[in-house]
Symmetry: C2
Subunit: 219 residues, 2 copies
DNA sequence: CGCAACTTTGATACAACTCAAAAAATGTGG
DNA sequence: CCACATTTTTTGAGTTGTATCAAAGTTGCG
């Protein structure tokens, strides 16, 4: 939700944060990352702030039992890697080949000294991230089908695609984001197709044929 | 984790936020709330910022299927109700009879005008809240016993009680926080007692007899 | 003390997981 | 562009952990 794009979601106090997003894109150095390559690791110093230019990025943690929990997917326009502490709480990887604009945190802090609206914008970004994670919590207590339906709606909304969603991530990624197994994700998709809510027009291409029904599951 | 208290958790960039917490306690009007009474409702204007003085507070949302998801428990010293948008994202209620210090958001904003460190402090509070919710996500993808063990450790840590934890909330509250049913919470507690990790010395009093074992489950 | 609310325990059901294998998609070199 | 190898996704069968339904204890308060 840290997006430049317009969205059907309410965007309170958005102006400053979005202006900052523009700044990152303009000032930041664009860097290419290959699929599955690490952008930063958990515990590393949070020296930079990142914005997806093209492609997609995931943040995640590895649990002690070896499972991986994905914290978020970031799409073009989204800012990630903003921490208030010294280090990153999660690791970040490229979901697919992608380009990321990078700006030094210290240069933003320097800008913020002369312009309190930048501090305000950074705060807003953190608050939006908080709202996003709160939604994630609500997602994780719902049924498998509801989680998948909600995920599809979110992706459709964020990619501004008219009903036809191209998922940049694998079933494993989706499963690890939703707290499910890949088999359960696959079956949930098949069930949604059976209910004529979606149409699987390729492994990673989904047509949302009945958004009403998906919303009913999501709500 | 928005606490004045000392804690075994790392507290990065804590000074300003804690100073602010002191300000709320000093400047805020102490207001008593009866058990289960509403402090604010989801969607209401976020006019005030709150700090628990005594007792405990829960924030929550009601899902469309009628279930309730608790977002957080706030204990003495903790600040809650800080939003960046115009309205509250969750509702807040008194878990038990409690006292809450209340300060107008506008007066903090006024203070912040002359002191950028106050803006910084508010940002830090939001960031801590973000970290807390991220932990909550990790909790919700674990087994019932692991969730309960983790919850007990968190409560022990936050109440700074030497092994003996008094839970201010009911099983229903715990279940709704952990995304479980009350029966499963009860059984998980019984199982932990069977493994000699804890001792139930009353419905709401738990003795942590083997913190090592609990931490192994938590990790 | 007695009642109401809360918690525990038991029996059963079901959703999601695990293990296994087939099918489909993707990438690669000839 | 095709044939093959590899990876990813789907489907199937069986298991398991948690939910549900029901009832018995327990706690705490008026």
């Amino acid at each position: 939700m840290l997006a430049l794009r317009t969205s059907t979601q309410p965007q309170p106090v958005a102006v400053d944060a979005d202006a900052l997003a523009l700044s990152v894109a303009r000032l930041g150095a664009p860097i290419p990352y290959a699929r599955d390559s690490e952008i930063y690791g958990e515990g590393e110093e949070a020296e930079y702030i990142y914005q997806v230019v093209s492609g997609a990025v995931r943040t995640y943690k590895i649990l002690n039992d070896g499972r991986r929990q994905i914290g978020a997917f970031y799409l073009p326009g989204d800012i990630f890697g903003l921490e208030i502490g010294e280090t990153h709480d999660l690791s970040a990887e490229a979901v697919c080949d992608c380009t990321v604009a990078v700006i030094k945190r210290s240069s933003l802090v320097k800008l913020a000294k002369g312009d309190s609206s930048i501090t305000q914008a950074l705060w807003t970004l953190t608050a939006r991230e908080l709202q996003r994670v709160q939604k994630h919590v609500l997602l994780l207590v719902r049924s498998a089908q509801e989680r998948v339906a909600s995920f599809l709606l979110e992706m459709a909304d964020r990619t501004a695609s008219a009903g036809s969603v191209v998922l940049p991530m694998s079933r494993r990624d989706i499963a690890d984001y939703l707290g499910l197994t890949i088999e359960t994700v696959s079956r949930a998709l098949a069930a949604l197709e059976g209910q004529a809510a979606i149409e699987l027009t390729g492994a990673r291409r989904v047509q949302l044929t009945n958004v009403r029904e998906l919303r009913r599951l999501d709500s």
